[in-house]
């Protein structure tokens, strides 16, 4: 179980020798509690303490990574149930499923479309992670042909789906040197599948429709020497999947129940209706899946899912930010005033709401202040004349208005002189300190 800073401190030498690079043992202990440093940074910890501390730091959900040349997809290592507590670390891999009953050409076309798919979201390039090949034909030859077809187009990691060890073996031979995920082991085939997983260094998903069934399998396979396991609880509907995934995560985190301390795989493609596939996938992203296998690929559904995955897996400790830019409030025109503020969302909201509800039109320039409020940003040097001037220039505010006049928040009145130098052809006005006073200010002074 996780130890608090003070608890860890009691295990440290308490000499404040600074060898770890921190000013005091307590400072080091708190970083350790927050998992921001390694215990090894302190050369003076005793063996006893070391043992106690490392046990406390073992991840409750095992990290499983799939690899192919140049690509890696990781799942697991999660430490919380709710994203506000701490970042969800490993974004679930999104895979597109192909069945070996499709012709190799069909497969290649579909793989090519999905493999090459890229979309830009807030400056980041998002893409899908890999492919799942299912031996629907139940013949090794068709399975191999399908895998080959995929591999001719894409080198992304693979999930191989078959319950038949012989067919699985045929598939695995084609991807030697990679670490694919095999789906999967069940009560009947687990030994053979386990042997294959060991032989090929593959990760192995276990399939059962009860938690006890899953736990049984992972314990047996772990005894057999297979470490990289994935759970397939086979829930096909939202309600059941939510319940099962929650229970698995709770058991792993709260009870430290090792047999279920593995990532989960979900198959939204099994939904009754195509329109539900993206809903199920969205659910799997938010609620604890490590690998998600879709049956359909289309840009219009891939894009929202990729975006949702980015959103859910952002660091919750980052302050809420709005996109820097010029915001139009109440349909402003060339005569409307120009206001500036920072991109901290609460700051933005209070300014925007105040002006919006007054009915007065205005241009609101939101600068990139790394999500800090006006005063904090100013204190930290993130909201200074230079940055404001830059925002006004990059967003071409001058083109939108006839009167070049900009209103500074009253809290940073001190910046007006410098801003005049930065923006020589603009008139700089100091507005009120509080957003509530903006409407009156605009009416009276502008």
């Amino acid at each position: 179980m996780a130890l608090s800073g003070i608890q860890i401190y009691k295990l440290l030498p308490q000499t404040n020798c600074k060898d770890c690079g921190f000013p005091t043992c307590l400072a080091f202990a708190m970083k350790l509690a927050a998992k921001q440093v390694e215990l090894a940074a302190c050369p003076h910890v005793g063996d006893d303490a070391k043992a106690q501390l490392s046990e406390a730091s073992e991840p409750p959900v095992r990290l499983v990574s799939l690899k192919s040349n140049g690509y890696e997809v990781k799942a697991g290592n999660e430490v919380v149930l709710f994203r506000h507590e701490k970042t969800f670390y490993n974004k679930p891999g999104l895979f597109i499923r192909l069945r070996d009953t499709e012709s190799p050409d069909e497969i290649k076309t579909r793989v090519a479309a999905a493999d090459g798919y890229k979309v830009i979201y807030v400056g980041r390039e998002l893409a899908l992670d890999g492919f799942a090949v299912e031996a629907a034909s139940r013949t090794p030859a068709a399975f191999s042909a399908a895998i080959n077809a995929v591999r001719q187009i894409s080198h992304r990691p693979l999930i191989l789906i078959s319950r038949d060890p012989a067919i699985m073996a045929a598939g695995l031979r084609l991807v030697d040197g990679e670490r694919p995920l095999m789906v999967g082991a069940d009560a009947a085939n687990w030994q053979a599948m386990g042997d294959l997983a060991k032989q090929h260094g593959a990760a192995l998903a276990v399939t059962a429709d009860t938690l006890d069934g899953l736990a049984d399998l992972t314990v047996k396979l772990k005894d057999l020497g297979v470490q990289d396991l994935v759970l397939d609880p086979t829930a096909q509907r939202l309600g059941a999947s939510l319940a099962l995934n929650t229970q698995i995560r709770r058991l792993a985190l709260r009870k430290n129940f090792r047999p279920l301390g593995y990532p989960v795989i979900a198959f939204p493609g099994d939904a009754d209706e195509p329109a539900q596939e993206s809903i199920l996938a969205a659910h799997a992203i938010a609620k604890y899946a490590g690998f998600i296998v879709l049956d359909h690929f289309a840009p219009e559904t891939a894009y929202p899912l990729l975006v949702l995955r980015e959103n859910i897996f952002t660091d919750p400790q980052k302050p809420i930010q709005v996109q820097p830019g010029v915001y139009e409030i109440n349909n402003p025109n060339a005569d409307s005033p120009v206001l500036v503020t920072t991109n901290f969302s609460i700051t933005y909201f209070s300014v925007a709401n105040e002006v919006e509800s007054s009915g007065l039109p205005a241009w609101l320039v939101v600068t990139d202040a790394e999500g800090m409020s006006v005063l904090t940003a100013w204190a930290a040097g993130k909201f200074d004349a230079e940055r404001i001037a830059k925002a006004i220039k990059t967003f071409n505010v001058a083109d939108k208005v006839s009167v070049k006049r900009v209103v500074l928040p009253g809290h940073v009145a001190v910046l007006s002189g410098e801003l005049e130098n930065e923006l020589p052809d603009w008139e700089i006005r100091v507005g009120p300190r509080e957003a509530v006073d903006l409407p009156a200010f605009i009416k009276q002074s502008l």
Partner: protein, 641 residues
């Protein structure tokens, strides 16, 4: 069985004659009938305790004793607004001041006491010695300096000395003028460097009288207020204590503005000069009080936040405000007044106390020293209610600290009618819940000029309890009182009408002031809750809460709890220490032991950066409410009728 129709005789000590009232008459009513004026600041709601009277004979029924201790009741105290007549009684009405002194929740900082057993020769680094040198002759042609050194060794046991060029230029004259009898002041051994060469500070012709004071000063440079104590190093007594707003305020209210200002053109020089002017001005005032000369001061210990120390020494402070927030120096070796520019003896030793981090400076290490926190068994919380709002939590085993940038509101700055806790400051306020009329008490007793920190705390608490502001801090503009009105800065509440004040203007508190105060208290509350959270300790485990701050002579704990500035704990957990920074500087000035302890404290304090993630912000927004968004943290505030 009480006869309800029965009439009783009630005698008030201040009334011309007894009166007769029926059972169940409130004492305030009886007093009114008797022609005795009992003041009811809270409007007779049993909240303020200011209507206390003493029942000398007979009995009354006390409906509520909320403001009275068990001991008070045993001594006959009763709240006149909450007690009814049940029989004949003789009642005395104590003078108002007596009541206030007795109220349990007002904590006044203790006066400074010289540490017991203070022995200047042992504790003091600065020594004054009277020397008689053998005059030179043709047989003894040693140079003046060697002669002085030898005599020092022989007569005072002080081995080596250093001196400045200016000193060498004067040694000969002093020796001869005094006819080889001189008084030397030396920094005998630096506190942190035993065996280091002693340094000559002053050499005067002749032997000065034994009881001439040897002056030192302890200075606390606050962002808002500068405090100076003039101390006789021979007795350890603080002979004059003075304070004034830091003149740098005109260049920005908070440390960030100052740092930015210092970075511009001549800003650093200007700010240094302003703080030097402030200190030198205080020196003048203090010296005048004891008929001393600033040049007689031979040692200064300086405390203050890291920014203030940097600005005083004109060390660039820019890195303090920019990530990753480091100072240029946390622990500065001793300097001389000449280098620093203080108007005391040019060779005087200047000792700046060590800080911990950019936002936890010498003022806090000094504060920890003065508060005794570093040596406490139980977990103790130390809150410095100042502009930077520093907080220390810990015990003998460990210490953590943070700063939460509260702003200067509690020091009376940044609030329209705010002022320091000097003559004319309203330091306590009650608001009548029915009429919304205030009653206040003024420092020095005259007409009010403004509100100091404790007055603002009291006012906010009273406004909140009586509904003049809602829990969100919005002034309720529909109240039936002319005191709530629309001013230049939106809604405001008039505490004193122009004709009652010293300057002839209304004293008001505006909505913006309320916001500032709420923000200041929220920052402090958030600071210590997050600090406790970071080390994984619930606030309940805190045994003592030490409150420091230069915002006044006293704090009304109850009201500070009511607004959510202090945690809701039993009142006896709280100890108000006043300005702990200057106290710490004072202790370090007179006692080298204490000075060594400050250094040790600085070394073992763990600084926690609150801005590292958004937990502080979260805690701050939840504290932006009166008393707090999570009302369950303030059970006693909810219980108030």
């Amino acid at each position: 069985m009480v006869n309800h129709m029965a009439e009783h005789t009630v005698t008030f000590d201040t009334a011309p004659q007894p009166i007769h009232v029926p059972t169940g008459t409130l004492l305030v009513e009886a007093a009114r009938l008797a022609g005795v004026d009992i003041h009811q600041p809270c409007g007779g709601q049993g909240r303020c305790g200011r209507c206390a009277v003493v029942v000398r004979e007979g009995t009354v029924r006390r409906r509520s004793t909320l403001r009275l201790s068990g001991e008070d009741v045993a001594n006959g105290y009763a709240l006149a607004c909450q007690s009814v007549v049940e029989g004949n009684a003789f009642i005395t009405v104590p003078p108002q001041e007596a009541i206030e002194r007795r109220l349990t929740t007002d904590l006044t900082a203790a006066a400074v006491a010289v540490p017991a057993g203070y022995n200047p020769t042992q504790a003091q680094t600065v020594q004054r010695v009277r020397l008689s040198l053998p005059p030179p002759s043709m047989d003894d042609q040693r140079d003046d300096w060697s002669r002085l050194q030898t005599t020092l060794r022989q007569q005072a046991g002080i081995e080596l000395i250093r001196a400045s060029l200016a000193q060498f230029q004067q040694i000969g004259r002093a020796l001869r003028e005094g006819n080889w009898r001189v008084t030397a002041v030396l920094d005998a051994d630096a506190w942190d460097c035993p065996g280091c060469p002693a340094r000559l500070i002053d050499l005067q012709a002749g032997h000065c009288p034994e009881d001439t004071p040897l002056w030192g000063v302890a200075v606390d440079i606050g962002t808002t207020t500068v405090t100076l104590w003039l101390v006789d190093l021979l007795t350890g007594q603080a002979r004059a204590q003075v304070a004034e707003y830091n003149r740098q305020i005109t260049r920005g209210e908070d440390v960030i503005s100052r740092i930015i200002y210092a970075g511009k053109n001549n800003g650093a020089v200007e700010l240094r000069d302003l703080v030097l002017e402030t200190i030198n001005g205080l020196l003048e005032t203090a010296c005048k009080r004891v008929q001393a000369q600033p040049a007689d001061v031979v040692k200064a210990t300086i405390s203050g936040n890291s920014t203030m120390i940097h600005l005083l020494l004109k060390v660039p402070a820019e890195s303090i405000r920019l990530s990753p927030f480091v100072t240029a120096v946390n622990d500065i070796p001793t300097l001389t007044a000449r280098e620093v520019g203080l108007n005391i003896h040019p060779e005087a030793t200047i000792d700046c106390l060590p800080g911990v981090a950019s936002y936890v400076g010498a003022d806090i290490t000094a504060g920890v020293l003065a508060s005794g926190l570093e040596d406490s068994d139980g977990i103790t919380l130390f809150i410095d209610v100042g502009t930077n709002g520093e907080i220390v939590l810990g015990s003998r085993d460990w210490l953590v600290t943070c700063a939460c940038s509260a702003g200067p509101a509690f020091e009376g700055s940044g609030v329209v009618n705010g002022m320091r806790a000097t003559k004319g400051a309203i330091e306590e306020v009650w608001v009548n819940g029915a009429t919304f009329e205030p009653t206040y008490r003024v420092v020095g007793g005259g007409k009010p000029r403004g509100l100091c920190g404790s007055g603002l705390i009291a006012l906010l608490a009273e406004m909140s309890l009586t509904g003049v502001v809602d829990k969100g801090g919005n002034i309720n503009t529909v109240l039936p009182t002319p005191r709530v009105r629309l001013g230049e800065h939106g809604p405001e509440y008039v505490v004193a009408w122009a004709d009652e004040t010293a300057h002839g203007h209304d004293i008001t508190i505006t909505r913006v002031d309320v916001d500032n105060l709420v923000r200041a208290k929220a920052a402090i509350y958030a600071g210590f809750t997050v600090l406790a959270e970071r080390v994984g300790l619930p606030l309940e485990t805190v045994e003592r809460v030490l409150v420091g701050g230069s915002f006044g002579k006293y704090i009304n704990v109850e009201k500070a709890v009511e607004i959510g500035l202090l945690p809701d704990k039993p009142w006896d957990c709280f100890h108000f220490l006043g300005n702990t920074s200057v106290r710490g500087a004072y202790l370090a000035l007179i006692d080298r032991e204490a000075r060594a302890r400050v250094k040790a404290i600085a070394a073992r304090m763990t600084y926690i950066e609150l801005s590292a993630d958004n937990t502080f912000y979260e805690a701050f927004t939840s504290a932006l409410f009166l008393p707090h968004t999570d009302l369950s943290r303030f059970p006693s505030v909810q219980a108030v009728p």
